[in-house]
Symmetry: D2
Subunit: 345 residues, 4 copies
């Protein structure tokens, strides 16, 4: 069985495994207060061009989202997200667990649009009964989105503007950030993100690390006492060094984007091959996740050799699928998939 | 600087590092539904003698405590713990974050006594205004305790009895369980714990793993939908395999207790040497943590070569200290410490 | 200014004011454990035909909803509601405050449909990643709905059936229940509701009481320790007698439905008069709230003499409005409104 | 049966009942935005000498405490209180329900001492692991305390000073404030409280109102969006007018303190008579609650004619009791109690 079911089906890239092994018997204080974490923080701050940032490390994405959002909001405030946003759909209510409502905006592409935010927030404050509704206070976007799409720099700037106009925080979930940064179709850089958001995270779990996400807090109000917040949410890793060691590697010699390129390059190979055969896609993703709409008989025929997820039924005989590439995907496996798949179309 | 400040200052024991490396490029589904996790579950169920147990893996102790406790309690219920219990003192309100009060019972040794629980719960229900007070519904104990002490089998049986009498869950925090199981002074085995509690966890972070705790849920009501609970609390690790691989190692060939013996053996060496010099201890710990009460000048004199924590001032010139051994502690470092320390007494 | 802006703009019906005055200097124990509450409970249990019910009294609707829902759900469970449901829109996240997500289903009439629930819950459990999504565990309906509509007995029976099939609680918000029970277009009685739901509340605040709602808990699991839950949520009224006295009156001599008839009767007068003029309605409400779609110039012209709420813009020149009648509405005021309004159409 | 079991066993003082009756058919907008509330706010602001205060009305004390505390604290922060404080003991975890730990300080008299706060907070920040403990951020005091005691102005000033030094909010629970303000032994006025705290509430429920508490928010950070917070906690009363009408009366012509004097005067009569007989008291209360320690046989002998609470066993044959006077207590009932009680001593 060859797996394309998600982008975290292997362990970590070899450099990280080697670094963890090399540092294994070093003695360090716990909780992210060690020299590896400090170096990783410095490297990230340099890469994003924001020496004033606070960088902390967490283990996983849901935890990161709930910690950042709960740190930012007052109890009666909510976070605006796309209806298909990860925090709205796939976190088993982890945001609500902290007392906050996700204010979901529908969008055909699963993106949060500046105009939609503007309208929503204006409507809220214009309503004479606004105190009876959750107060919008933050915008959550994922980049790439859950459907593999990317915000353009202009879109991010528009979101920044609407957030400034209404006093909202802008928070970017970068679970797959590396795969966005290296897409041939993006004009958004890491410094752009650090300039335009109040907080974001650089996903490690899906981009080469064993596990771990680097949270970057830019707004001073979010920085204050954030480590208390991590511990309060149960997210402070005893051996914080493990996260430091990994991000130290990822931000040395462009490793983070280097390994991401493998995934996106192979995804483009797949996309081009399928497009050529006239296959339609659920989302026109320029990143590592591809969402081809395939005949059920094709899905069925491949199912004993290849693992990938169904992403919703499209019509009576077609299913949208998700095929993920990662830093670890081997070209020969993509070749094999295409060899088996293309003749079926 | 030689560190004895806690029992998680190194990485993982070599067998675990090797197993992680060996499995690194294997492809597995996420979230603990892989073959390594399944094997680790089977090994643990065998070791504890409870084939009906549900075993799940989590990353850290605070997260484990908050997930188990929140899964067990209705909103208005609380958990009884020692005043010095980890959940009452050192988790930044992670239990309260889930809406539950910790009902703290004072005890000179930091243990929860069956008689004290019985009296507390009887008083609760005898009070005509009991509906105005948090309803006690669970007993939390740590074994070893935060002070390194152990419950005897008789004490656990008494707690079980009082919990049964009052309809309370009994939950055991085994962050340092390995160090308790191999203590020369214990009569409590892993199957005893699995027989006498409703839930407990086998600590990996402090006993040889890179990170991770194995939660064992014995009461059927706690088993139901527990994985939802993990995700809801933000604690579901994407690459659950990492936890499975580690516990597979720890429960193969007695590795878990084997490595724990190193720590306890060295702790006994330290204890005996200090006792011989007439040093008093804050707790008479038969496990890997030792709490000698030292003159401030001694603490001061050692502070540039050895790291260990202060555990509270005892009088004007003495401090209780905590000196931790772990699976990774080297005999030569303990020898060095004694060589430097003993002459100062 | 004549007010039709909501159905709680006056105090209480005279019988209640008289009863409160008469009992004012009686001495009673607090917290709903007095003779008035006991009598009110007995009267309600008789009226609904469920001697096994647990009846408790709370001050307001949001508090009641959050208390019942939080009492029923485990932390990772959510409550299905119409997208326009009160708990989803107008309670400032009071449900999320207790950690639970509202699972909102769109519906043109703002009703929860048995088929939609069935599909939603089936989809949930069929999804291999269901543990990553909030588990549906309760259905919340309001009767009358926020738009004044009523469920038929057949609709309630279908909801009961789907809830039984999937192990969901069925909870009915009866903030305006009296106005539903006396509608000329309903076939649903109070005993029907008590037979078909697991919990519901009989709204007092909007139907003749000064304040207060009577919660009826039918499912044994919801009854257990519910008073703890009330106190935990901050909702236990010290002078519980005040609620008992009021519901004692409301359920003596059919007062509750008697006063409701005034509201619905006047609403039908308004509806018929407007219909005759060809006015369209946002919802075809057979209860005390009417939602005529009026030209903006008419709304504007009436605004200095009559208070009523806008309920959303319909097109460039028309607004949906909400005009509420209550137990206290005077016929002469409705006559005056029609006198001023009809000529403008 | 003559009841002294608490200070809310009757309805409301006659002026309030009359005002509620008089205003009953007035039409007002809901949620505290009516003319009565506005007038009550103005009267209170005048009485406390703080035109910059924000005054809001809530139904009960537990709800008020949880709303103010949750509005003030960030998720990882806790509130310091006496171990016997109402929020720590008698609110069924309503503070923890909002995610916050109560940091309980023991004190023989049940008061929070400035020196104890100072030591606690200094210890917190001096601890290198402070991020692992709940961050103290507010001090909660009740005045009178649960034991009927009063803070002196000097004690309040000392608390203010220590709160300023450490950046803590000072919040005063005035459930029985009226009975404190009129005590012959107090030097604390309402303007003193408004000058020295960041928030407090003026208790109505126990001091002449049917129900209701007036929250006074002085610190600008607590004022912001407080009405959202009320709604989020389920505490916004639909007919807010009811609270406005009551506090309008209580703050017209000194009614609030006038009726409180009755309670305290009678309490002093009881106290003096018992003291003369050599009866000891659990607390030396100069307010409406008295805590005489009585022989069990006396308690027993009185129990069929008088209701009052046991407040804890003192020795094998004595019980501390609580005997409450209120605005409604009749002198003849106190006389009767003394007539029956004194000969038994």
């Amino acid at each position: 069985m060859i797996r394309f079911a998600c982008d975290y089906e292997e362990g970590a890239c070899p450099q990280i495994m080697a670094a963890l092994a090399a540092a294994n018997m070093e003695q360090h204080p716990g909780y992210g207060e060690d020299a590896h974490c400090d170096r990783a923080r410095a490297l990230i701050k340099k890469a994003i061009g924001r020496p004033d940032a606070l960088v902390q490390f967490l283990v996983g994405g849901t935890q990161t989202n709930q910690t950042v959002i709960a740190a930012a909001l007052r109890p009666f405030q909510g976070v605006i997200a796309a209806q298909t946003g990860h925090i709205n759909v796939h976190e088993t209510g982890a945001i609500e667990a902290t007392g906050h409502k996700v204010l979901a905006l529908p969008d055909p592409e699963g993106k949060v649009r500046a105009a939609a935010v503007d309208a929503y927030v204006k409507d809220h404050w214009a309503d004479p009964t606004h105190e009876h509704m959750v107060q919008p206070a933050m915008v959550y976007i994922s980049h790439p989105t859950e459907g593999g799409l990317l915000y353009s720099r202009a879109e991010l700037e528009a979101l920044r503007k609407v957030c400034d106009a209404h006093g909202l925080y802008l928070y970017l979930d970068g679970a797959r950030l590396g795969y966005g940064l290296v897409s041939p179709e993006t004009d958004v850089s890491l410094p752009d993100i650090a300039r335009l958001t109040d907080a974001f995270y650089i996903g490690g779990t899906k981009v080469g690390a064993l596990f771990g996400e680097a949270v970057v807090l830019l707004h001073p109000a979010l920085q204050k006492d954030f480590r208390y917040m991590i511990k309060h949410q149960g997210g402070m890793l005893a051996k914080g060094r493990l996260l430091g060691i990994q991000f130290e590697q990822l931000f040395t010699g462009d490793l983070y984007t280097r390994i991401a390129k493998n995934a996106v390059g192979l995804a483009m190979v797949l996309r081009d091959a399928l497009r050529e055969k006239g296959v339609a896609f659920l989302y026109e993703s320029p990143t590592n996740q591809q969402f081809p709409i395939l005949p059920d008989r094709v899905v069925e025929a491949l199912s004993d050799r290849y693992a990938f997820e169904g992403w919703g039924r499209v019509d009576e005989s077609h299913t949208a699928t998700r095929i993920c590439m990662s830093w670890a995907t081997k070209k020969e496996n993509v070749d094999a998939l295409l060899r088996d798949l293309l003749p079926l179309l």
